[in-house]
Symmetry: C2
Subunit: 453 residues, 2 copies
């Protein structure tokens, strides 16, 4: 049932390819799911992959193409003639998959392939879809859907469905439209199936449906489908004409990507990288945060340098520099992450922002009090200077409250400015809190030490 990719399997396949045992290769591959065939191609050379790929039946080959990773696919398509791509693969695909694939190619290759597509309706569907921003409902939707006129009878509708259903894998809903192609509602296939054949569609219609517009943001689409547990969602244009439909599998990708992006931002990674990516890509995605951290560290050094006189007099102050910096960073990351998740989940609005900030203040104060008390007790027991004990604990209290508030505040501001609030969770908050934490700690230490010595 499920396929496990093994080293032995790949070796065997490579041997078959070098001996050109086409029949055996086909026998192995055609038993597999397209997603599994795609995963094999990650392990083969480009020539081996192309060789086996051209053996596949067009309908399977086009499914495999959809499953390949973006980078692999581009590399792959560049070694296959455009005419073959158009006739064998693109023509077997749903319009949304075809448009996604065309999107990733350069303009020349794309125009080349479009020119070879025989079915002019399909070509025009793809061109239409290419116009939409990928991050909108228009960019997610497919043109393949079953639309029936509200004035048909069940009998006529069934034969209309039969015609339209030819090249669709699944029927989720049947969309009902009026004569102007405006969306009126849906009918379920189950409902249609068990009603007298003379019933009018207009009498079976469920008109209380949810739709989105072509320019609805894809994250909003995901939120709507999740909230209302939908498997498919109709997309309409500005005057409510049915333009396409989005299915849940496309939205699962949006949800996954969104979650990964936020995760990477909070981890300080700027690009979407995977452990399999090249060293250089990995460096490129990680060095920006490290450089921001480095800058922050240099600013920190300047702050400490400004207080160097105190440090020379009272070396004990230096002991807690990393503690204060780290705690500010930690508290800020926590509150910013919670606010960012709240915003992403849609349960932050302008009205309750003030309430949230008050709550963050309380949470920060309690956390600060707990940590300050503990470090105060530690220093009373193990440190010889009371000035240090009082400086560290009062600074820690203030730093935690400040960092918590700052961490909550920044994503709220970014969100109001229509900037992705997740940007605030990583480098910016941590680094800013590190520096400000040092400033607070050293200022307080100066006061207490000068008072007591």
């Amino acid at each position: 049932m499920q396929f496990e990719l093994s080293n032995e399997f790949i070796q065997e396949l490579k041997a078959l390819i070098s001996n050109q045992e086409d029949e055996k290769i086909l026998k192995i591959l055609e038993d597999l799911h397209p997603a599994d065939i795609a995963s094999i191609y990650n392990e083969l050379d480009i020539d081996e992959a192309r060789y086996t790929y051209l053996l596949l039946k067009p309908s399977i080959a086009s499914d495999v193409l959809v499953e390949l990773e973006d980078d692999d696919r581009v590399r792959f398509l560049n070694v296959i003639p455009s005419e073959l791509i158009a006739h064998q693969f693109i023509e077997n695909m749903d319009s949304d998959d075809a448009a996604d694939i065309m999107q990733s190619l350069n303009d020349d290759k794309r125009d080349d392939i479009l020119g070879f597509i025989k079915d002019s309706e399909q070509a025009s569907d793809i061109v239409d879809l290419l116009n939409f921003d990928e991050d909108t409902a228009g960019g997610l939707m497919a043109k393949e859907l079953i639309a029936i006129n509200e004035n048909l009878t069940v009998k006529d509708a069934l034969s209309a469905i039969r015609d339209q259903a030819q090249d669709m894998d699944e029927i989720y809903y049947l969309y009902v439209v009026d004569d102007d192609n405006k969306l009126k509602g849906i009918v379920s296939l189950k409902n249609l199936l068990f009603k007298p054949t003379t019933t009018k569609i207009i009498d079976l219609i469920e008109d209380d449906i949810i739709s989105v517009r072509t320019d609805t943001d894809s994250e909003e689409v995901a939120q709507i489908m999740e909230k209302y547990d939908l498997v498919a969602l109709p997309v309409v244009d500005h005057i409510n004409r049915l333009a396409g439909r989005i299915t849940i599998d496309d939205v699962v990708d949006v949800i996954r990507e969104e979650a990964e992006k936020d995760y990477q931002l909070v981890s300080g990674i700027t690009h979407d990288v995977e452990p399999t990516d090249k060293v250089w890509l990995q460096v490129k995605s990680r060095i920006p945060w490290l450089l921001i951290g480095l800058m922050g560290g240099i600013f920190g050094a300047l702050v400490i340098g400004y207080f160097e006189g105190d440090l020379i007099k009272y070396a004990g102050i230096a002991l807690f520099l990393p503690l204060i910096a780290a705690m500010g960073g930690n508290a800020g990351v926590q509150s910013s992450s919670i606010i960012v998740q709240g915003i992403a989940g849609g349960n932050m609005n302008l009205k309750n922002t003030g309430k949230r900030l008050v709550k963050e203040f309380l949470v920060g104060s309690l956390n600060g009090l707990i940590c300050a008390t503990l470090i105060f007790a530690y220093n009373l027991l193990f440190s010889d200077t009371f000035a240090l004990a009082i400086s560290v604990s009062s600074a820690l209290m203030i730093v935690i409250v400040f960092a918590t508030m700052f961490g909550a505040f920044v994503p709220i501001i970014l969100h109001k400015l229509k900037i992705d609030p997740a940007l605030a969770t990583g480098p910016f908050i941590t680094t800013a809190n590190d520096i400000i934490g040092l400033l607070i700690y050293l200022s307080i230490a100066r006061v207490f030490f000068n008072m007591m010595f």
Copy 2:
């Protein structure tokens, strides 16, 4: 179409409730989607919520119950008589939703409600489902599905479907079983619909299907459904008998929750909290990391204390303490997050672990080299001691390489020990890297300063 919750709306509703204008309340609520009604209940007092809830039609009321947040639901169900819950709400639900709801209640309330369920088959379905671990396919699946015997004709199958489909909202697939209820394959409703009525089901069967076992981990279920773009997945027991089916909307929740959990771990939050949660819950979920950070800071202070003699002689060393600690933490969080995502995405296996670690070494070395060169240049320009420049930059190089490797290594080890590798991304790696970074830096500084002065 879509509902926007506003303050005015809530005020108006509260006024209607206090005036007991039942008809008006019903008119407003019954136009809304159950998910929207649930979102209103977050804004009402428990008494107001109960009042309006008991006005709803049972079928709507049960959908609303499914949509409520876990905590709200428990609070809510505790103020409604068990008999009413059983008859009006649970009996209108799919078995998986009913089991999820029962799971969240205490044993007494649960047994109480189960005792009131009239339909003994439904009660036994729920009890069956309660036996499965929530994090397995058994915990996700519903018992409601359409199973048809392979020996039926299309005509008989259609009437069997008609009987079984009564209380199902959607039909995704029709599952074909043999006389022992063992899963043989699927038939699509579309396929059945357009075939002669005398065709045997066994001739229409698609037997190349993917299924999971009741004990398959829910994350694996999500990976399979995502990889193969499935909207529904059959679940079988140990001898391949059809036990239930999982639909994509349940899996979307798994994906979302998994992503949120990893996000929270890397942000240092231990429980699933939202900005709306109570202050005390928020403190409880954040204080553990802060305490680990505090412990780390104290260890850091001990390390610095051990080198206090050097710091008193060469106060300049103190300037870069926070920088070194922060950079170690940052580099470690980055590599651990990438490895954790790789493991979650299923593209890490035992065979390529060595390769990944070599790659992390190269990435760490390059990042270390870049950062070390920059800080060396900075110190040459702005600092007066060459010993400091050479100490900071060589320590930074070593710390970044070490932290990167350490960050990659720990989740791999945890994964091998069958512990969630995401646990490694937050407190543990950062704090360990902070301390080890300080130790490396101060040791190197001691050597260079003693050599040069």
